[in-house]
């Protein structure tokens, strides 16, 4: 099976290599796109086949490794593949969503210039390589390397419209913030090596060291998985094409942080303080991001903050001491959030704007898109029997079992808000009177609807497929429905839907909401802190260094140069060549020597 698992790495790699080197093919546009799509689909099939034959929990992993780094003639790091109960399902999720998104892009990006289209698909292929390489990583070093490469793909794809200044800013910002967090991740990996002598996903013995490593690794998780306050890059990342947002910034890449915790579970498990911190950070993120999503006008920004919020759920769940809930929610979220983004893309495609206020009444024009979006929204809101219900329920249940009542309450509140803001979007975009733009809207082509349908199917039924998701507890699907937090979450979600429908669908409840607060949240207070840090911290510091270097360090050098120059000019006067001057100097010199001798003699 390991050979099959290697397909999602090597096939897209070959595609990327061909597209990178053969520029005529890349510039041809559609042929390049089809090549990339074909390799993505083949990768997906291979991943599913590999998953069916993969070891289940408790069975030894299948693997293949090659030596990579040496030290005194001995290997200290390997690269390779490791297929086990944890990596196999994630591989399926990644390749399946990637394949759906690539097929969708055939329609969504069809109007791009041909070379740009080729570039777009080349980077998508590279993304599958990096992501699969990360999922299958046999050790922390390869994980780190692929993690950074995934970040590179994110940079390139956010900046796909590189001639647009805002896209450039967003791309650079994403790298700055995530790599800032990676200072922690990198330190964690180095410390892992220093304490254990290798890069394995486990530490034995010293729990103090494990706590430190886990805390450092979690810094990286906070950046990549957009936990408050390092979430500021994710909403900006929506500058990329919408399919990119669906794949990277909703379904797979941002979930990499969550996957890191699952993958390195033996380390995190040995670090209870870090787990406790995770529950709280995750819960706070879930609530803060949900509140922010409430007030956004841009449909993609709503979804972006929603992604933040859901990532908060996953992190909170991981903090309870069991990785199953977080991992399960990652999986279902990948399906329904990718669906939501693709449907949003279809809406944007139809009306030509991201602004919710310019939409409305689209349900009549784009029936299928509306239906698929609403399905995704219900799954996200946690309405049974869609997948989001089961996974969110499990998250809450784990929080209850861990006696994390504070985070549990916060997450319950966020669940209500989630239902509220999704209903708000549905009402503003699809219901109500049609806007001027909506009147000219048209349904998307089948090449875009089909992958959305595939995702809708998985978003609907993924809740029933708990068996093979890396768990060591057998969980029956209906086990969830009877728990108290599940019922509470469902009631809150229904309440949220009802409230939002009354406010945005029927125009009642005008007094609901605080405009000043909404404006404050919309202004991005956390973002402001980062801007200030850059404007008043790092940039002036660099300026000071530049000044010191020019005027102090280099100033000393120039002082020497200038002194030599001017001093030699003054000294030159002595060498006038005139006999009178020479005699004068001779006599004076003799006097000095005599005086010196006399003083010496006295002493």
């Amino acid at each position: 099976m390991i050979e099959l698992a290697m397909v999602p790495v090597f096939l897209p790699l070959a595609t990327f290599g061909v597209l990178a080197v053969l520029w005529p093919l890349r510039h041809s546009g559609m042929p390049a796109a089809w090549l990339s799509v074909a390799s993505a689909l083949a990768s997906c099939v291979a991943a599913i086949l590999a998953w069916t034959g993969a070891p289940v929990a408790g069975e030894p992993a299948q693997g293949m490794v090659f030596d990579w780094l040496v030290h005194d003639g001995k290997t200290i790091a390997e690269v390779g593949f490791r297929l086990d109960a944890i990596s196999a399902p994630m591989l399926v999720v990644v390749t399946f969503v990637a394949a759906c998104v690539q097929v969708y892009s055939l329609g969504y990006m069809a109007h791009e210039p041909r070379p740009a289209l080729g570039r777009y698909f080349a980077w998508h292929s590279l993304f599958i390589v990096a992501m699969s390489g990360m999922v299958l990583a046999p050790n922390m070093l390869q994980f780190l390397a692929c993690w950074e490469l995934v970040g590179l793909c994110s940079y390139l794809l956010i900046g796909f419209y590189w001639d647009k200044p805002s896209a450039g800013r967003a791309a650079v910002k994403a790298v700055w913030v995530t790599r800032f967090a990676d200072i922690g991740l990198m330190s964690g990996v180095v410390l892992l090596y220093v304490t254990t002598g290798g890069f394995a996903f486990e530490m034995t013995g010293d729990s103090g060291a494990a706590t430190l490593v886990a805390a450092l690794l979690f810094c990286g998780v906070m950046g990549k998985s957009a936990q408050v306050p390092l979430h500021v890059w994710l909403p900006d990342a929506m500058e990329g094409p919408t399919p990119v947002s669906a794949l990277l910034h909703a379904a797979t890449m941002v979930a990499a942080g969550v996957f890191l915790v699952v993958r390195a579970w033996p380390i995190f498990e040995a670090a209870p303080p870090v787990l406790t911190a995770m529950t709280w950070i995750g819960a706070v993120t879930a609530l803060v991001a949900a509140c922010t999503a409430l007030v956004q006008h841009d449909i993609k920004k709503v979804l972006a903050y929603s992604t933040c919020s859901q990532l908060g759920y996953m992190v909170a769940a991981l903090g309870t001491g069991s990785f199953f809930g977080g991992y399960f929610h990652l999986t279902t979220h990948a399906f329904f959030k990718a669906l939501l983004f693709l449907a949003a893309g279809s809406v944007i495609h139809a009306v030509g704007t991201n602004d919710l206020r310019e939409m409305g009444g689209l349900a009549k024009k784009t029936k299928l898109t509306a239906g698929l979006f609403i399905l995704g929204a219900l799954a996200l809101a946690g309405v049974p029997p869609l997948s989001g219900f089961f996974s969110k329920d499990l998250v809450l249940e784990e929080l209850l079992h861990a006696h994390a009542y504070g985070p549990l309450l916060i997450c319950l509140a966020a669940a209500g808000l989630t239902a509220f803001y999704m209903t708000r979007v549905v009402c503003m975009a699809f219901l109500g009177p049609a806007s001027a733009r909506s009147l000219e809207a048209h349904e998307s082509p089948p090449v875009m609807l089909l992958p959305m349908g595939a995702l809708a199917l998985t978003a609907a039924v993924a809740g029933f497929t708990t068996g093979r998701f890396g768990n060591d507890v057998a969980l029956a699907p209906w086990h969830f429905a009877v728990t108290a937090p599940g019922v509470a979450a469902l009631l809150l979600a229904l309440g949220g839907i009802a409230l939002a429908y009354m406010k945005y669908g029927q125009g009642k409840l005008a007094g609901l909401g605080v405009p000043a607060l909404a404006a404050f949240i919309r202004s991005g207070p956390v973002d402001g802190l980062f801007v200030r840090g850059w404007q008043q911290g790092l940039r002036p510091l660099a300026g000071v260094v530049g000044w010191v270097d020019r005027y102090v360090v280099d100033g000393a050098v120039n002082l020497f140069g200038w002194a030599a120059l001017v001093g030699s000019e003054r000294m030159r006067v002595l060498q006038s060549g005139k006999l009178r001057d020479a005699t004068y100097l001779l006599v004076m010199g003799a006097l000095v020597v005599v005086a010196w001798g006399a003083i010496g003699g006295v002493r």
Binding site: D67, W68, L69, V70, H71, D72, G73, I76, L141, L144, A145, C146, E148, L149, L152, Y155, G159, W162, D163, K164, P165, G168, R169, A171, V172, V175, W176, R179, F180, D182, I183, M186, S187, V190, L191, Y193, V194, L538, R539, L541, A542, G543, V545, G546, W547, D549, Y551, V553, D554, G555, A556, V557, N558, L559, G561, W562, L565, V566
Partner: protein
């Protein structure tokens, strides 16, 4: 075949023949230079293939007595480090010759000096005799004065402030100023080196310039405690060690493309190589005693250089300061006195050489077309020069330590070594420095290549063409190949480290002695 002599002497021979070629025959000049660089590159590849990694140690030795009474010999041999650095020099030279293919002004003289310089560089990496080592070192350093003074570029800068009268007097910003500053600062360094070499020659009683003899007759601990810093500062001035780095931004900014490529790409490595191979290996006790200082200064280099690069708006200065920062990583690795740290230091010499060579080739292309170096006046250049944009991004990614590029392996190994040797602060500073690098490199890429544009005044922009691609593809390709498959050179470097590091460590820890 005496591959080492062939590799070293081919450029010298070509330079000698070029003296006889009339200056009007441009074709002959170029073909001859390219041929010589190809022979050197080929020789370097032959050496790396011939070097037996299982045996390790010094190989391919060629000995010829020069002045037996003083113990001076033509004594060439290569160790694992030499293998990788010869390869680097061959690559950069080959790329550099093609990067200046279109030079018009006194091109014959230019190539003569360039080839002479490279022969010096190659010689340093394989000399076992300190006298010949130093000779080659000076051969590598001195032509720089003429290369910058004649073919360099002058930048009109606005001189103001209380010391403007002095700066104007020095003609700051001019190419003569840059050439003079670089040469004088490096020669002061050479004076320190010379003192160190004489001390080694006399002090231990070896009375021989052979490094192997000198290693058998080590200096007393007291002597090492002052000889090592002399060698560190002497060689360090060429490696851009703070605060003796200020020749580098001015020098690299004024130098013509191929000279910047070679200077930042390989010459600065001579300094670092000298500190490790001569300073640390021949004065182990001094090295151990001074390592905390060396490392602390290297940390300043890394962070200060990166912040300095961020404060610059001139493209060449940005890249020059980034070299100061990255050479700090080399010195940081050296100061760890750890296997991973040393492997990383030498790998960083290799990786940084490729990267900065590529950077300066690209800077030359951009400057040659835009006639401007102010990055924040540019914008949207990717539209007119997509190829240059791609390769600039590749070099930038290697520079900020993106996995898959050679720079990552080097920096990561140095961080491992630093932390492992107990210097957690060094490792953290290095990691933070890599982040600052990401900030300024991506900022520069965006300012130059992304965005709307290009502005009106840059209407002559065009992509790289013809021979200019050679340098870009060769160096960019190598960055990726060695980044994905580091063992191509890491194995050799590791063999070199396994040979030299125990010498240093056993001086202080007798239990490590064989």
């Amino acid at each position: 075949m005496p591959w080492l002599s062939i590799t070293v002497l081919a450029p010298l021979l070509a330079a000698a023949i070029l003296l006889l070629v009339p200056s009007s025959s441009r074709g002959t000049t170029r073909v001859l230079s390219a041929a010589a660089s190809l022979v050197s590159l080929w020789g370097a590849i032959e050496v790396s293939l011939a070097y037996n990694l299982h045996e390790g140690g010094l190989q391919l030795r060629e000995t010829l007595p020069l002045v037996p009474s003083l113990g001076i010999n033509w004594d060439l041999a290569v160790d694992g480090w030499g293998v990788s650095l010869l390869l680097l020099t061959g690559l950069i030279l080959f790329a550099g010759v093609f990067a200046t293919w279109t030079l018009d002004d006194r091109d014959k003289d230019f190539y003569i000096l360039l080839l002479t310089l490279v022969a010096g560089v190659l010689g340093v990496f394989v000399s076992l005799d300190l006298f010949v080592f130093f000779l080659f070192y000076e051969i590598a350093v001195l032509p720089m004065y003429l290369l910058i003074g004649i073919w360099g570029s002058t930048k009109k800068i606005e001189i103001k402030g209380p010391f403007a009268f002095a700066l104007r007097r020095l003609d700051v910003g001019g190419r003569e100023y840059a050439a003079m500053k670089l040469t004088l600062m490096l020669l002061i360094g050479s004076a320190f080196i010379l003192v160190g070499i004489f001390a080694l020659y006399q002090g231990g009683g070896a009375r021989d310039f052979g490094m192997l003899h000198l290693a058998e007759h080590p200096l007393s601990r007291e002597a090492q405690l002052w000889v090592f810093p002399a060698l560190w500062l002497g060689f360090g001035s060429l490696a851009g060690v703070f605060p003796f780095h200020t020749w580098s931004p001015d020098g690299h900014a004024s130098a013509p493309t191929a000279v910047s490529m070679l200077h930042a790409g390989v010459l600065m490595k001579l300094g670092a190589f000298g500190v490790m191979r001569v300073g640390m290996v021949l004065c182990p006790e001094g090295a151990v005693a001074w390592a905390p200082i060396v490392g602390a200064v290297a940390v300043i280099n890394v962070v200060y250089g990166a912040l300095g690069a961020m404060s610059q708006t001139d493209l060449k200065y940005v890249i020059a300061y980034s070299s100061v920062s990255h050479m700090g990583v080399v010195m940081l690795g050296a100061a760890t006195l750890d296997t991973d740290g040393w492997n990383g230091a030498v790998f960083q010499m290799f990786a940084h050489g490729l990267m900065t060579g590529l950077f300066f080739a690209l800077v030359g292309l951009v400057y040659g077309r835009a006639h401007d170096r102010e990055i924040f006046r540019m914008g949207g250049f990717a539209k007119a020069m997509p190829g240059v944009a791609v390769f600039f991004t590749l070099a930038g990614l290697s520079s900020l330590g993106m996995p898959g590029f050679a720079g990552f392996i080097a920096e990561f190994l140095v961080f491992l070594g630093a932390w492992r040797s107990g210097n957690v602060v060094w490792a953290l500073a290095g990691i933070v420095g890599a982040w600052v690098t990401a900030v300024y490199v991506l900022r520069a890429v965006r300012a130059i290549f992304w965005g709307e544009g290009p502005p009106e005044r840059y209407h002559h922009l065009s992509d790289a063409k013809g021979t200019e691609w050679v340098a870009l593809v060769l160096l960019g390709g190598c960055l990726i190949v060695f980044g994905c498959w580091p063992r191509l050179v890491l194995d050799a470097i590791d063999v070199g480290t396994s040979m030299h590091l125990p010498v240093v460590l056993q001086a202080v820890k007798p239990e490590l002695a064989l």
